[in-house]
Symmetry: C2
Amino acid sequence: MHATVGKRIPRLEGVLKATGQAQFTDDIVLPRMLHAAILRSHIPHARILNIDTTRAASLPGVKAVITGKDTSGRKFGVYARSADQAPLALDKVRYIGDEVAAVSAIDEETAEEALDLIRVDYAELPAVFDAEESIKPGAPQIHDVPDNIGGKTSVDVGDVEKGFRESDYVREDRYRTSWQAHCQMEPHIAVAQSDSSGNVMMWTPNMSPFTKRHVLAQLLGLPDSKVRVCKAYVGGAFGGKSEVYSLDYCAALLSLKTGRPVKIIYSREEVFSTTRLRHPMIIHLKTGVKKDGTIVARECKVISDTGAYSSTGVMAVYLCCDSLIKTYRVPNVRYEGISVYTNKSVCGAMRGHGTIQMRFADESQLDMIARELGIDPVEIRLKNARQTGDVLPNGSRITSCGLSDCIRQAAEKAGWKEKFGKLPPNRGIGIACSTGRTFINVNPVSASAAFVKFNEDGKATLITGAVENGQGTETMLAQIAAEELGIPVEDMTVVAGDTELTPMDVGSFLMAATFITGNAVKQAAADAKRQLFETVAPRLGAEPNDLTADNRRIYVKSHPEKGMYYADAIRRSTVKGIPIIGKGYFNAKTEYLNVLTGEGRSSPTYSFCAQVSEVEVNPHTGQVKVLNTVIADDCGVAINPMDVEGQAEGSVATSQGMAVSEEVVWKDGQIMNPSFLEYGIPRAPEMAKIDTIIVESHDPDGPYGAKDAGEPPTHVGPAAIANAVYDATAVRLSEVPITPAKMLRALEEKKA
Amino acid sequence: MHATVGKRIPRLEGVLKATGQAQFTDDIVLPRMLHAAILRSHIPHARILNIDTTRAASLPGVKAVITGKDTSGRKFGVYARSADQAPLALDKVRYIGDEVAAVSAIDEETAEEALDLIRVDYAELPAVFDAEESIKPGAPQIHDVPDNIGGKTSVDVGDVEKGFRESDYVREDRYRTSWQAHCQMEPHIAVAQSDSSGNVMMWTPNMSPFTKRHVLAQLLGLPDSKVRVCKAYVGGAFGGKSEVYSLDYCAALLSLKTGRPVKIIYSREEVFSTTRLRHPMIIHLKTGVKKDGTIVARECKVISDTGAYSSTGVMAVYLCCDSLIKTYRVPNVRYEGISVYTNKSVCGAMRGHGTIQMRFADESQLDMIARELGIDPVEIRLKNARQTGDVLPNGSRITSCGLSDCIRQAAEKAGWKEKFGKLPPNRGIGIACSTGRTFINVNPVSASAAFVKFNEDGKATLITGAVENGQGTETMLAQIAAEELGIPVEDMTVVAGDTELTPMDVGSFLMAATFITGNAVKQAAADAKRQLFETVAPRLGAEPNDLTADNRRIYVKSHPEKGMYYADAIRRSTVKGIPIIGKGYFNAKTEYLNVLTGEGRSSPTYSFCAQVSEVEVNPHTGQVKVLNTVIADDCGVAINPMDVEGQAEGSVATSQGMAVSEEVVWKDGQIMNPSFLEYGIPRAPEMAKIDTIIVESHDPDGPYGAKDAGEPPTHVGPAAIANAVYDATAVRLSEVPITPAKMLRALEEKKA
């Protein structure tokens, strides 16, 4: 039906990346560029008494040394009210890795050497490393807030007490999830270049150049337009490159101080310990159901450990709550989540942000309820699954929903009927579901704009603020534009992700790039086409509305032989001096989200998925081997099925890692395994065989019916795998990752 | 009256340039970048029998060697029909410096070393170095055209024979002008970066990135959109960076061949010998006048030496003719100009292109006529001067004309009445006038487009394809946009001169940047303002048409207290997702110029100037010292008077150099003084004191009444100075430059 949309089109930047020619931030090498390094606290909690940078500053080759005193004192955070992190410590350090000073020098070695010459006098303070300890009276106070609680979300819908009274069966469990690292192949890095007019250009991997610019400009005390965030390819973000980090700020400030370009690159250890991790959560979940499995009431308390600073802390506990509401129908819910400070590394956004934790709890418990009631786990999910037209408690309407199809197709493809309860010993099968949101309206900006410009040779340039993080955004957006214009995608060039050159964009958070930016791009292309039709119509003896275009040719709908190729049309238009630039913008019809109460229709649409995984548990080693995973993803219409599959496969890997192998090991607030050698990200041989099913619900508001891709598939691995482990062993693990040690212990406890 | 237009605003890029931070092409350093060098012919005319690159290619560090055989065989030239120059010689070499092969290597030294290892077998051919010799029967044939004539312009208006019959006085002279070098501080340079998708990015100083891209793409056999010409600051162009040169092509082809970035920079000798020079011309001019000095008829024959290739050859002879017609009224004209090949360096566009030669002849002869008839040279000019409303033979109408004012004001400021004929011995005063054209319609494209985008902080970005060559284009265009928007110019950022990011632009030829691009920018700003007014009007309870803006504030015209600051307005619009981008385009109402006949109303308006110079001739050394120069420039309205003055001063320097000191010395087709040490570009102590008078005629079609700046002031130095020399010595020099040797010889001849 479509010429370009829905086609398996290879990435526009594929050859560049495969041949090493794509420019990542570390490929930026500028004349007279300095290198910088950051001095970090080796103490989890302390007051800074004095910092002496004299010796460091006088080391030959050192060009500048900065500490908190050189900063404006402004702090950053995802919300203004929780802006509690300074780019360089002002008074205290709150975790091992907290930034204390930064040095720029002629090379990395000199900068590192200078760090050793900085003397910091600390007054050590007692530290707390556990969230439940942290909220106890008398715990060390990390920030100036009571009980170390950085934020709280409370949601109360319906009448929970009544719900539980009317339930036939009530079950209560406690679940626990752990930290997880993003493990982007590209470490965090920033290159800043200031000029003597006080402008700062930044190259830094990011998910939204406009957000980075705004926060950075505020920290630096500059107007937004003095800071330019430029495009470089991003070697993986996964939520972990959305915020400004100390290195962005330090690179900019050091460049302003020295008048020279400055590069900072984090070591792998710094990426693990000082950027962001996934929030570990403790989830108390109580559910009441009817005999037939219909969910009647739920009550939930969540303690989320945000580490030393807030970052997205309160949003994570909101998203956790949101996830309890939007996959299955539930008339009565009470939820309370708190974000708690500890003297540990900071947690923030990561694919499946706040949601994967709740999916683990919810889907594990639902599985047990089904078993208790003698209902097939697939059936209980179908019974409660959200449907098109459902209205969520916050007023959001589910405009398209393929959840039931996902459940059925994943179960069928995985051979659920043949396998569930019928596999040989130590083999098991499990299912879990989830719901994604295409967007979360928490910014003042909830819109994207895009431009489409015709070149003189009839080809077109798409100008968008969206960022290619590896997810295929540029190709997908180029497909949308090409489809609308009626030209092949190879005629498209994409200019993206540069605050000076491109229009505002919401950023590649969740999957706003498809739904919001995609709609803006479609409109921009339609606008460009309309403008061109107006210049062409008189020549074809037709009205603009009578024209259409495909295959690089504009023609009269009723007389297809009367037409003109794009290249000719543009050339004629150009000769007349009429440049064709189409403008599009799209504002998701959403409301601002109140994370404290969950109010606000903050997502325009929702995507869904179901995963069925089959595992084998080695009873001697405790090793859980995930044999295969079927993932069914309701992404709306797949603009590029290859990219949807790629996203799904990456998501499955991330969530399998969280389920069985990825464990952050701590000792007194210090991460003990901050390297790819020691941290258990799944490698190819450990990965399950993956089958991806694309379930295409046509979203009425999405561009060509698309919603998003790959977010919900991140959510379901821990639950699907834990459920399969139960099916294999009759042992319920209520904590992930299910490491061999935990599995063995659980097996032994069961025996005992 | 205006807040920004007409103000002496310092250059936006001034601080960057003054502090060395502005990025010129040589500042581009890319990872893995190779350096290239070009092997050139040391013989003025020869057939190439064989090129052996084996030894060069095997030198360690050499990455690629290319010759004409590696090219597509396509040739380039300003007109398709005179495309006679290959980027690397195909069969013959035609001058000393002709490109034969190019080498890319890990560094410049290795590339140069490799050149020595290339063996070229030549069959030498007889050469010709003089244009009058070249058109004689039996002269060596340089190209496959009869009589070595590369192009011809013939114009016949009125009845010349009748005109001469009706004249009271007829005078016939022969004038001769010489070569001149542009002497840009920045040598020609190119950096090319290809990628494995076959795209080529080019940084190369240029006057129109779109023209460079188009020609380069054609030579490389690529569609235009595969070639991107990126912005770098330009260290002087003066017409000499408009064409594609061998280095642009070789950098691109070597980058495509090696997959690595390639930089080529010309030595100063290469810039002098192998880019472009000003055309030397021999001008036979016959003029008939009435007793009162009214010009009745003119007949002119011009032989222009284009060197080994056509370049702009035929355009130069057309412009020479054009110059004979547009300064003074003349009812009957017959003109024939030929562009002749010689085995010398190639001539092309340079400020005053084709015009300065004719001004020297015309103004020298008019001076003699005035003296013969006993008319003051100022008066004869005023009598014949073009006036607003005049229609030129090609149908162009002079829409605004300050020529008479220029003549009067320059004469008055210089003390003409007190000085003419009254100065002490060896001191003299002379006057000359000229006319510029804001544009010359020879491209298929005669239009510019521009975009104005609002940033979220209320500041604006101007996106234009125009190039800042040092003339102040970016500041001037930013002033126009700021004026139209009602914001200060410091709120403007300019993105310019990048074929991927900016809309089409005619290029900074002549002064199209002011008139054509300036109009496009004004429209774009007006369009952006209109869009913003539409979003603001409802809030202010007004219609969009009721609003106006200044000083960063939008308000209701009738109720100035009801208003909103830009920053607030933009922020509100942004929140709604409505990006503001204004689009403007302007097509000069011109016709395509037929250079062969002079037909076509090819310029939308004309600018004018008059120069009065005072000289002192040293009778012992022959040295002509220019004491002071008054230049009156009718630029329309001066957008930025400081830039108009800067342009005028630069023009006066160029034309003083051509008049008295800049001489290209040849020996057997070889330039003997290709360096700043030996070539006589005027230095500060040699420069006349300059007084610039801005004569503001308000052009009805120009942006804020502006036309252009600085082009006509280039034209008049040689004539004004030669006329002053006559006034000082009663010796008429009919050849420039008036070197001490020529002056002494003339003084001696006069004595004899």
